[in-house]
Subunit: 243 residues, 7 copies
């Protein structure tokens, strides 16, 4: 009831100190397809579920490369994500041009948060309707979560999107093993975390995109063949886990 009165403008506080429009924008993230990010000592990996229904268009990939040391996966409105993506690409390009170096990941995401914050405070825009997992590597690998609230969090592993709670549960359960995982293992963990959110549909025929960045490894989206290879590998690894 009270809710009705304070939820139609991003610049209105509710008597309980909540910003309902920001919370509603978070719902748009929860309706996007699940995506997972994990980092080991040397790699940061993104795994994203792709829309499989409808074959006339190319799969709308949920992972977007930004710079050679940086990329992101998204859950929510693609058009909003692309706007953010363009901003990040321009920033990285201009940084490279000025300093002849890669934009430090933590500083970039801090600036992104500061750029997004006004959409939660000014009356003439709506908050972005997209959540992002940003995987980057400068001196070490990074996974950052950026949300419509303009909140930026440094993560060891994270999952966002529809039913992602199950993925986060998987990630927490295996958190200790990530740091010293090999490249293959960390990718398989990402796949398994994603699968946790699929419930009974957890068959072999899920369609996913995988990207990684790391030590001596520029940001790269894996080919379909490699994806299938890792799907099988994860399947094999997962079996003992089920026992």
């Amino acid at each position: 009831m009270f809710r009705n009165k304070y939820d139609n403008d991003v610049t209105i506080w509710s008597p309980q100190g909540r910003l309902y429009q920001v919370e509603y924008a978070m719902e748009a993230v929860k309706q996007g397809m699940v995506t997972v990010g994990i980092k080991s000592q040397d790699y940061a990996v993104l795994v994203a579920l792709c829309r499989a229904e409808g074959h006339t268009n190319d799969i709308q990939r949920k992972i977007m490369p930004i710079d050679s040391h940086l990329g992101m996966s998204i859950a929510g409105l693609t058009a909003d994500a692309k706007q953010v993506c363009q901003y990040l690409r321009t920033e990285c390009m201009s940084y490279r041009h000025t300093y002849e170096a890669a934009y430090p990941v933590s500083r970039l995401v801090t600036n992104l948060g500061n750029k997004m914050q006004p959409t939660t405070q000014r009356y003439d825009r709506r908050p972005y309707g997209v959540g992002m997992l940003i995987a980057g590597y400068d001196l070490k690998p990074h996974i950052y979560q950026v949300m419509p609230s303009a909140n930026v969090m440094n993560c060891k592993a994270m999952a966002i999107g529809a039913r992602s709670q199950s993925s986060r549960t998987y990630l927490e359960r295996h958190l200790d093993s990530f740091l010293y995982s090999s490249k293959d293992e960390i990718i398989c963990h990402g796949i398994q975390a994603l699968r946790s959110s699929l419930g009974n549909d957890c068959g072999e025929n899920i369609k996913i995109t995988i990207a990684l960045v790391g030590k001596e490894q520029t940001f790269m989206t894996l080919s379909d063949e490699e994806c299938i290879k890792y799907l099988n590998m994860a399947q094999t690894l997962a079996k003992p886990d089920v026992q």
Copy 2:
């Protein structure tokens, strides 16, 4: 009921994380006449239904040439489409002037999406009320779908507009045959896909516009004679299909 409260401003999120005004603008596309885009290995083809009733005015063609390597067909508000068209033409012209080359198709549509996104996020405008199929050729043929949500999708084949679901069903059924189709075959597929959306009216007397672009073929809208030729050709090809 809830719907009533959150659907009168493009900057308002519903509690379920939806933007109703964007969804309503998508309805305007669904009320436009159906148009189809398909690409083969060498060609990208657009086929559009034209308003036939009322003879005093020229047929309002739904296909708009943009540059020698690029054109689009539309479903929805023509005036909105022309605004977009002018933007694309200006961009292409200015690119040619600067780089003495054709604007790469994928980059152009990405920029178009980013230009359209603010109409879904800022309070002082409405989302565009038009869907577009953009056919282009740079190193290979492209079909892109651009929607009021500012979503841009790379497609093998696509149909938008009134009752276009039937056309999309046709396209999905024949998807595998498009890649290695000849120019004539791919045009006939476009015509047949369009016809699927016409239901029982699927007679010989439909009025359509056809345009194509491809390898050693600048963007060209076919003459009425050629259209009739292809309509007959498609008719002949279609027969076995019905059997």
Copy 3:
């Protein structure tokens, strides 16, 4: 009912994908006095009904000359039409100054449409309340219809304004004869089309304005004497038509 909710702002889409404010502005055109435009091989002709009641003021002429190769007739708000007229005159003048040539008609009306489109998309203005028939001649004669929706249509013949449906019916019935009509014949057709919308009032005493432009004929509004001459001529021609 739903209608009530979505019709008070030009930037609001209805759930059915309609823009009611644009549709309401079209109503203003339907309340203007009827005007007709026709083109033959060599001429573009405008015929407009004039307000006859009230003699203290000059007849408010509904035909406005724009440039030596261009003019327009209007239905709807005169003040809005004059604003548009001024824009077109300035454009033509500046074009002549730059290129020492007449502004190509089709390009000019395209730009006009693009100028009018924002009034249908931005919150701080209302759509124009006037419909226009633009008659021009560059390499051949043109009749363009421009509406509050910012829609621009290339026409062979067109009528807009109150009860103009009857005029359009007349035009469609005689459409085939226009192309090779002489100057006198095409003017008479315009008069007869206009008369069709007057119903039983279709007497000899209607007050009209006639303008034409064409091959070796700059845009010219006919004198009252010539108007009467053509009214009589049309009357004579019309008789057999009635039989």
Copy 4:
């Protein structure tokens, strides 16, 4: 009822294609005191009724001189009229400075209309609440009527303001005699037309202002003595008219 919904913003069209706020502003003109304008072959004359009640302030004259060839009388909000007056004076002054000539009357009033039109189309202003009769002389005398709708009309004779319908009836009845009237006759016609709107109060003690401009006559407001002279003259002339 419907009326209630569409009449509180100048940028809102009613479903019938009306702009109620513009119509309401016209009401402000109807509440102003009546003023009459007439032109003969050589003269344009303005006659305006003045507020007589309250003697502590000078009579608020309803006729405003603009330039040596131009002046206007008003009905409605004086403050709005003065704003318009200042615009016209500045325009005339600047024209004289640039071209060393008088601003052609018809061009000036066209520009005035175009300046006033946005107040009927933009959301942040209200339409002007004043009607104006502009009397000018360049190659011949002119009477223009300018209304809150931004409509500009070239008139032979016109009356606006409270109960001005009676004055317009007088003007229409005598319309044919104006063109070849002498200066004295045309002024007397103006006075008689004004008197028509006063009903039974049509005594000798009405308070009026008279101004004229014409051939070899710069715009001039007559002295009180001359006014009285013409009032008497009109009285005498009027007598036979009553018989």
Copy 5:
């Protein structure tokens, strides 16, 4: 009832052509303390009632000097009046600087009116809540009344503020005697006019401010001693008037 709908925005016309917000601002003037202005052949005099209750602050004088030939008295919001006052002072100073002369009074008040008019036409401001009597002298003395409606009136004598109708009645009754009154007489008339609005309180102990400007007399506010002198003088003169 209708009133309720059209009175909350200065840019909204009521169906009767009224601007309620402007009328409400006039109410603020009616609640200010009464002030009177009169002019004779040589002098313009302002008399204003001052707030007497509360002794801790200086009397808030209602008469503000503007330039050596100009001053004003106010009724309504003091803060609004000071804003206007500052504008007038700046204008006068800048005029003196440019032309080395006093700003002609009538031109200055015309400009003031034009500056105030937009507050009655634009949506983002409210009309000023103050009425002003401006007394000036250039070639002759002037009294101007300026109201929230931006109306400017040239007056022989005027009173505004609470119960000022009685003062205006006094002024009208003695209007003929003002022109040839001496300085003392005209001041006494001002005092008597003011007293008329005080009803039974019309004792000797009223607190007033008096200012005058005229031939060889720069604008000057009288000292308290002189005020008392004139109060007594007016008292004496008034007696016979009562008889």
Copy 6:
């Protein structure tokens, strides 16, 4: 009831000519702690009550120094006061820089009033929620009261804030003795006036701040020791007053 309709926007006049939002802002002043200002022939003194409850933070002093000849005490929103304070400091600094002199007090407060007035007239801000007593010295001491209405008043003595009516009553009762009071006496009067508003709490343990400026005395806030000294002194002086 009517009140409800006209009190939610600072640019709306009520039918009675009141600005409710300005009146509501005045309420914020009435809820601030009481503060008193008095001037004698040579000194201007400010006395302010300080928040005593809660010891973890420094006492939020209600007296703010502005320049060496100027300071102010406040009642209402501190954040608003600081904004005003910053404006005054900047003005004084810039004046000193330009003229190498202290900003004349009366001119400064006039400008402050003019700067605050737009917050009571423009729609995009709220009126300031703070009242100020400004104590300054140029050729003589000054006490000015500035309120949310942008009203500026020159005072002999003044009190604002919660229950300040009692203080004002004290000040009026002793008004005659202030002019020739010594520095000590005038400070004691300030303390006693403040105490009048404290009712029965009028014990010895009230916490106050005292500041003064005057002849050969730059603006100075007294130390806690001196405050206690004067509190005791005032106590002693007050005793006979009670008798």
Copy 7:
């Protein structure tokens, strides 16, 4: 009830002189995790509780370093805090660049308050939803509290956030001992104050962040090891306190 009407815009005063939107923003602070700041003669210390639930992301630290002499801890919206943080960092950096010195703490927080005040007075933004404790050292240590109301307070010790009243009670009880506390003691006091707000959860396993700045000590966030050391130390010290 009244509350409902005046609480949906930051520029609206309630009839009682309150700004509800500012008060609601204060609620957001009360929902943040508790944080404590204390200063001794030589040190300013910040202690903040960290979100412990959810291990996949790094702990979102509530203490942000600003410059070598300055840092802050926050309660409320992190994204808002980061925006403020960026402002402070930029200010400090630019100050260092200009003056080659540290920005004086009190002047910096005054400017911060003035920057935040407009969010409580202008219609197009919402007040910040974060409270901050700023610890700095220039000539001596400082703790400042900055709230959404833009209020800045100089504190000896302060606690903000959920259930912080208990912490403030602890701080007031031990206020006298802070000034001459050693570094270790003052940190332990901070921990104990924080614990007071945790109620029965006051176990050994709370997760906190500690930062300090002081004499010959740049702003430094303690390592996890040191935190544990101090937690134990505080535990030991606290025991006697409980007895």
